[in-house]
């Protein structure tokens, strides 16, 4: 049932060259299976969005390979590229910037349908738009004729999800899909993503800085720092039994109502935190196997 969809094989990406080079991704490897979500968690600048963009073929890796169902993705053109774009769809962070303000919601969906769904004929377009909006729990009659500015952030993000899903993708890349939404609507969007993942057997690459949300939507997790995945594996195992010092630091800093600042035991030592981050930025040399589905980079020193 579960099928290997997307695979990163020692992928690196640098921007610029020489002393000014930024190594945004360093030897990143992971695989994404259908019906499962992999969360890439990290702070800003850790390289998680660079990975998402490489999965979308927006950036070409400087080294290593991105494979889709075992086939290399580099050099895809024309029909091959279009087929890939259909199979791998993206949901963007900013629901306000990712819809064209001069077009109606119906137009956005029709455009995706006419580009990626040759099976939908012109006379079925309207019916299909309705169907797609209904799957994301929006009222088609109400939403389809509207312009983006007439919708709330949560509604817009649902439209984005409908747009991505209407191409009938196999992989969904979601880059911080809820970080710009209000707390009360976040959960609804997360639940929708979870439901779509299961019912449509999608592989989901979920990019986030919020490790608690990652646990809510993803089966697997990869913690990134400074372009490297420092720890990865089964979500529960990584969060409950973290091995890499940076994962531990990240977990200790997550807002947790159980640990008040006034308790001395829950204090975080900034000097120690700096040391951990410095060590985590160095090249990881060895991979430790913690469990069957849980690995960590050996910390330096």
């Amino acid at each position: 049932m579960s099928e290997l969809l997307l695979r990163f094989d020692n992928v690196s990406k640098s921007f610029g060259s020489g002393t000014y080079a930024v190594h945004a991704a360093r030897s990143v490897s992971f695989s994404l299976d259908s019906g499962r979500a992999l969360a890439i968690v990290g702070e800003s600048g850790s390289g998680k969005t660079t990975c998402a963009r490489m999965a979308m073929l927006e950036y070409l890796p400087s080294a290593g390979k991105v494979l889709f169902k075992g086939e290399p993705t580099e050099g895809r053109r024309g029909r091959d590229l279009a087929a890939y774009r259909r199979a791998v769809q993206m949901i963007f962070q900013d629901p306000f910037a990712s819809l064209n303000p001069v077009h109606t919601i119906a137009y956005h969906l029709k455009r995706t349908l006419s580009l990626h769904r040759p099976d939908v004929t012109a006379k079925d377009l309207d019916a299909e738009v309705e169907k797609q909006l209904a799957t994301v729990k929006l009222d088609p009659a109400l939403v389809a004729p509207k312009y983006p500015h007439e919708l709330s952030g949560g509604q817009r993000q649902r439209v984005n999800i409908a747009r991505a899903l209407s191409a009938q993708p196999q992989v969904l890349v979601a880059d911080e899909p809820t970080s710009m939404l209000d707390v009360s609507v976040r959960l609804g969007v997360l639940n929708l993503l979870n439901e779509m993942k299961t019912t449509r057997n999608l592989g989901m690459l979920y990019i986030t800085h919020d490790i608690a949300t990652a646990r809510y939507v993803a089966e697997d997790i990869a913690v990134m720092y400074s372009g490297q995945i420092v720890e990865w594996g089964d979500c529960g195992s990584v969060i409950d039994n973290p091995q890499h010092p940076y994962t531990r630091l990240l977990l200790s800093a997550v807002p947790d109502p159980e640990r008040r600042f006034s308790d001395a035991s829950s204090r975080l030592d900034p000097k120690e935190a700096d040391a951990v981050r410095r060590a985590a930025a160095m090249d990881g040399r060895k991979v430790l196997t913690v469990g069957e589905r849980h690995f960590a980079l050996a910390s330096v020193g």
């Binding site: 009360s184 807002p255 975080l268």
Partner: protein, 267 residues
């Protein structure tokens, strides 16, 4: 309560519209004791930032504070202050840190000049005195004093935010208002900054009015919390009580919208 530093009573604020007024804050009352961290929680649009603006008298039309509202800081009637009194009141009594505060630093001025601006305006400090105070304040937020000669772009986002906090505290205000001060920062940096503020308020004794939508963070940092829903303060209490025994339905719903690190939801 006579021993409170900030006392807000029946605060009602309308945004005046051409056809209809919008009641952003409705009969809100709370007190903040000296040295206490009081949190205002709620979704966007619930009025929490409007309260913060009113307390520092930074609200501008179409926001209108209705008659019968009362804001007192250290016994003074904040709503009755004239322009000259306001100049003394802001920064010296109440300082504010905003969400994008790190972008409020002037990009073409050195850090020491930005400190000097505040210190000279409110305290008539000389260059030399300002420089001494700058060094002292930067040390408090763990930034090397030598770096006061640098420009804002030479610092990271977290450092810039710490600099803004240092400028805020340069005049020893009695109350610091923080409106989502760390939302744009990474969790580790957020933690470092808030922990530092927690230490500083214990040393220096200022109070904090803290605004965020992140309830978990609020419980960690605040002594007491008020929960706002469409302009009304629906519940207030000690943070552990808001967490363990929320009384109002809305508070329970808010908790139930946060995923927990341990799996499932917080509520």
């Amino acid at each position: 309560m006579s021993d409170s530093l900030l006392s807000v009573k029946d605060l009602t604020i309308d945004y005046i519209g051409a056809e209809k007024n919008f009641r952003a804050v409705d009969q809100v009352s709370f007190d903040v004791a000296p040295g206490e961290v009081f949190g205002l929680a709620g979704e966007s649009g619930c009025g929490k930032s409007t309260v913060a603006f009113a307390v520092s008298r930074l609200h501008i039309p179409p926001a209108l504070i209705r008659k019968g509202s009362e804001i007192r800081l250290a016994g003074r009637d904040v709503l009755a202050l004239d322009n000259k009194a306001l100049r003394d009141f802001r920064w010296r009594e109440v300082a504010m840190v905003f969400q994008s505060a790190m972008n409020s630093l002037n990009p073409v001025l050195r850090i020491e000049d930005q400190f000097h601006d505040v210190l000279a305006t409110h305290n008539r400090c000389s260059r030399k005195e300002a420089r001494e105070r700058t060094a002292e304040m930067l040390k408090l937020v763990d930034i090397k004093p030598e770096r006061m000669r640098d420009y804002p772009h030479q610092f990271s986002g977290g450092m810039r935010q710490r600099i803004v906090i240092a400028i805020c505290m340069a005049l020893n205000p009695k109350l610091v208002i923080m409106d989502e001060p760390t939302t744009a920062l990474d969790v580790v940096v957020q933690r470092e900054i808030l922990q530092r503020i927690d230490e500083l308020r214990r040393q220096m004794g200022f109070s904090v009015l803290f605004i965020t939508h992140d309830l978990g963070l609020m419980v960690q940092f605040c002594d007491r919390i008020g929960v706002m829903l469409s302009g009304k303060l629906v519940e207030q209490g000690r943070s552990d009580e808001i967490f363990r025994r929320p009384q109002h339905d809305y508070t329970r719903k808010l908790w139930a919208s946060f995923p927990s690190l341990k799996g499932g939801l917080l509520g």
